[in-house]
């Protein structure tokens, strides 16, 4: 009995040691630690060089600004205003873009017809189109929603189409030779096969849509995150400005992680969800 206890003690001891070791390893490779180190270096650099805090603010004052604007309701309001345009615009893009992309993947005539237009949308710096949207839809919520829509739409269409076309011809041929009905072919073969790509399109689309909304807000001086950025820029409050930029980044990263998790759940075999990947250059 005593040996058993000794063995058990030994096991717990080495367990503890292993845990300490793991913790140390985690800390060494930790993203959190690297971020904290970088912030400390930034803070020290600012204090030592005595650089003008308007040009490069200290991280501590950026953090203070973030708390300040969060407490005084500017930031929560701005986030709500931005989401009011982002969510409907993105949902509309998904609602129209996925069927169009799938149809383009299945029917070549649809593909031929729409391909030039999708390529134009994909190749154009959409940023340059936002002034047109302002003229068409005025200075209200509609313009910002449409901005989210046109930034997300082409990426969603492209990836839905690529998803359908990535389903191997051999699979489709096999289904045909087993005399699967068209509906079944669509439900059991084409849709599951293209799902990972569709989710990837949604993921790229929404982070692109955030950019569209923010540019529109900046151009229109709307009260969202983009408007806050312009206001603080004009007031030379770089600490507040960078606080808004970092909050935006955190929102984008959270949404991206959500879609990445969805991608991993729906299609664990598809490794693309692991990589953040550079979004398309537009």
């Amino acid at each position: 009995v005593s040996t058993a206890v000794a063995v058990q003690q030994n096991a717990t001891l080495s367990d503890a040691r292993r845990r300490v070791h793991h913790a140390f390893e985690w800390l060494a490779g930790s993203r959190l630690l690297s971020v904290i180190l970088l912030l400390i270096l930034w803070e020290i650099g600012c204090r030592v060089t005595g650089i003008n805090p308007t040009v490069i603010p200290r991280p501590s004052s950026i953090l203070g600004s973030a708390v300040d604007i969060a407490l005084h309701y500017q930031l929560p309001n701005a986030i709500v205003v931005t989401l009011q345009a982002l969510v409907p615009g993105f949902l509309l893009a998904a609602l129209l873009g996925i069927p169009l992309g799938v149809a383009m993947g299945v029917y070549r005539y649809v593909r031929w017809l729409w391909d030039p237009y999708v390529s134009i949308l994909l190749g154009t710096p959409l940023l340059a189109m936002i002034p047109v949207l302002v003229i068409w839809f005025g200075l209200g919520l509609t313009t910002r929603t449409v901005a989210a829509f046109i930034f997300a739409f082409p990426l969603i269409v492209l990836n839905a189409q690529a998803g359908v076309r990535s389903v191997g011809l051999s699979l489709v041929e096999m289904s045909t030779s087993f005399e699967v009905s068209r509906r079944h072919l669509f439900q059991k073969v084409l849709l599951p096969g293209s799902l990972p790509s569709i989710v990837l399109g949604l993921r790229l689309g929404i982070s692109h849509a955030v950019k569209g909304v923010i540019i529109a807000e900046m151009l229109m001086g709307a009260p969202g995150l983009g408007g806050l950025i312009i206001t603080f820029g004009e007031a030379y409050r770089t600490d507040h400005l960078l606080a808004v930029v970092f909050v935006t980044l955190v929102i984008v990263l959270i949404v991206d992680a959500g879609f990445s998790a969805l991608h991993g759940r729906l299609a664990p075999w598809d490794q693309r969800y692991l990589h953040a990947g550079a979004p398309a250059p537009r």
Binding site: S34, W112, A128, I215
Partner: protein, 269 residues
Amino acid sequence: VTARAAGARSLTWAAARRDAVAKPALQITALLLGVVVWQLVGEAKPRVVASFTTVLAAGVQLGHDGQLWQVLGRTLGEMAIGYVAALAVGIPLGVVMALNRPVERAADMYLGWLLAIPEIAMIPFFVVAFGVDLAAQVAVVVAFALPVVVKNTLAGLVGVDHSLLEMATSFELNRIQVITKVLLPGALPLIMVGARMGLSRALLGVIGAGFFVQLFGLGGLIYLSETTFNLGVMFFGILVVMILAMAVSVGLQWLDRRLTFWNKDAGSR
């Protein structure tokens, strides 16, 4: 070859030939139809859409009084300075980062973050840092182009085949030789991808800078014509931006194919 097989082949050939005619026919029709609709809408609602002919007339006018060349010169000049600076800084930076293992591991996350930030949101920051000045314009272009250049250089170098590095060691190449003879050529396809994405983003940057820093270039032209409700000039400016974007992407694809001729799928990436 049986008659039946020959018949089937000629059938598929006929189908292929029919497609080869049908595809461009359908696409050209679709585009022409688009232009016709554009023209009709423009004539019906001139306060909303500048018709195709109005846009062309605005372009001819801008070319005639020289404003177009001035604007184009400014835009392309700022873009070129910023882009070359981004390449000159970004590629060496990527190489140095790739050679340092802890830095390389940490860099991936930060570069991903830099790419996730809406770059436009940083423009007011550059205005504060550099003033309403050419320096701010160029800094914006660099800020847009740099992250993708560094990221792709880094990915290219990290992805170089390990057996090549082992061979280099057994041939006793020194560090500089390893970099110039093995690592850089191996990374070239991805470096070119970075250069391509960087140039597209440099174009975005110079237009964004035109909106928010100085109203001189193409971005400024579009922005000013929006505020003065000059639809013809605005649509023409956007058309020029589209053509520039297309020229940039086609030109760099061509260069890419020439530089990395051994890499068959370089054009498709």
